[in-house]
Symmetry: C2
Subunit: 262 residues, 2 copies
């Protein structure tokens, strides 16, 4: 447990006024929701930059490239370069760089793995099987994944999100596909990249040279975002513009990232 | 726990020489293995019939109709009528008869549900979602299943077998698809039909009017067949022609169904 003050009004205030060198911003639920920008979010990102701090954007989504994510943020009026985006595909690529892998996932995952120097195979043996969300999934792919794992490949899951939100409902997330493969393979993943696992934050701390206590994660989910920060040893700030309507007493929170002072 | 003698040589002998009114025969691993009949199995089935006992054939497989299964048995030289076959599709149909259901599964499942007077829907609301093995599965079907369950439908799984054997390897079973749907729906099945659940045996006891202690299940798997008999209150006999190479000390067993005396 952190020794930083937490949970009371004073703790919340102390945390929000503390200066951080690195701001780790969850995207959906913090900067936008569905197709709508969170009012004031673009200004908040600008203030962080003007204060001289670093900004990185995090998402568990493995299906889109960094370029694609940066374009989405720019459409919401937020300046963002592809190098400031961290996805589960990018973090998976950092981990697997130089190794052979067979991947079940969408083109964005394959592109980032290739960009990160992962040796993707089609029919050859591979050291790793990577499983992410793929919406044109086939039974044959679940079979190939489980059989490669049963015959010795290691099993990497981009994330275990059971669902993801779309227009007032939810769709099956990577976690559903990971569950199918894990069941058939008789084995849980050897490595899970996505939040609440700390791997994406660790990649960003390493890349920026920032120590965990100098970084603040801003997120909208307790079980993924805030838990991810805890596991990485960073401070966190819950905002109420996403899936969490009420703050629990013991987590620093603000109504919106628009209320963040830097 | 049963009070019948079990586990020692005497128990095994007592069980094998006891006369039963109903013989419940698992198919794959007991009567045939892959494309090969177990030597002497057809004779054993004949001896059971000649002794005046009833025979029923059980399988967790939901993808084939009773007619199809009877044809397979006849090709292996075993007389079998479709009415003697009990599959997870047939037992699901008995349970759901008269109710509305939306099914994820192969044509054999749909045929048996319709034959059992289940009101199958395509786009309309339904009381139940049925999930079985479907080898041309799509993401859209996993999504439709989970969303129907999230919005109130009950969840029936034909079985939770993680895999099924084919020519020297295994393929993902219904359990892998059930795991994907359960993960996305955030809910485990309300009802599982297949072994080790006792539902198929209960259907057969009801249909034949035989009491549990008058029935013997012959199977090759401890965790499904033998456990299923235990839950239904029937005696069981493990044969070593399938997936279990060595009998544990506490379960009555024979090398093969060919060694069964009736």
């Amino acid at each position: 447990d952190s020794t930083a003050p937490r949970g009371d009004r004073l703790g919340t205030l102390a945390q929000v006024v503390k200066r951080y060198r690195l701001y780790l911003l969850d995207m959906d639920g913090v900067l936008f929701r569905g197709n709508t920008a969170i009012p004031g979010a673009a200004d908040a990102v600008r203030r962080i930059r003007q204060a001289g701090a670093l900004v990185r954007f995090l998402t568990n989504n493995s299906t889109k490239t960094r370029e694609h994510n940066a374009r989405i943020l720019r459409e919401f009026g937020m300046e963002a370069s592809p190098n400031e985006i961290m996805t589960t595909a990018v973090a998976a690529a950092r981990f697997l760089s130089g190794r052979t892998a067979w991947a079940l996932g969408e083109p964005g995952l394959h592109e980032e793995l290739l960009a990160g120097n992962v040796k993707l195979v089609r029919d050859e043996p591979a050291e790793w099987v990577v499983v992410g969300l793929q919406r044109d999934l086939s039974y044959g792919q679940i079979d190939e994944a489980q059989w490669r794992i049963r015959t010795g490949a290691k099993f990497l899951a981009t994330n275990r999100d059971a669902t993801y939100p779309v227009e007032g409902r939810v769709m099956p997330g990577a976690g559903a596909i990971v569950a199918a493969v894990a069941t058939a393979a008789g084995k849980e993943p050897d490595l899970v990249i996505g939040k609440p696992e700390p791997r994406m934050i660790q990649c960003l701390l390493e890349e920026t040279g920032v120590r965990p206590e100098e970084a603040l994660l801003v997120g909208d989910r307790l079980d993924t975002d805030i838990e991810c920060a805890r596991r990485a040893g960073c401070d966190s700030l819950l905002v109420l513009t996403g899936v969490t309507p009420e703050p629990p007493g013991d987590v620093p929170s603000l109504p919106s990232i628009a209320d963040l002072s830097v």
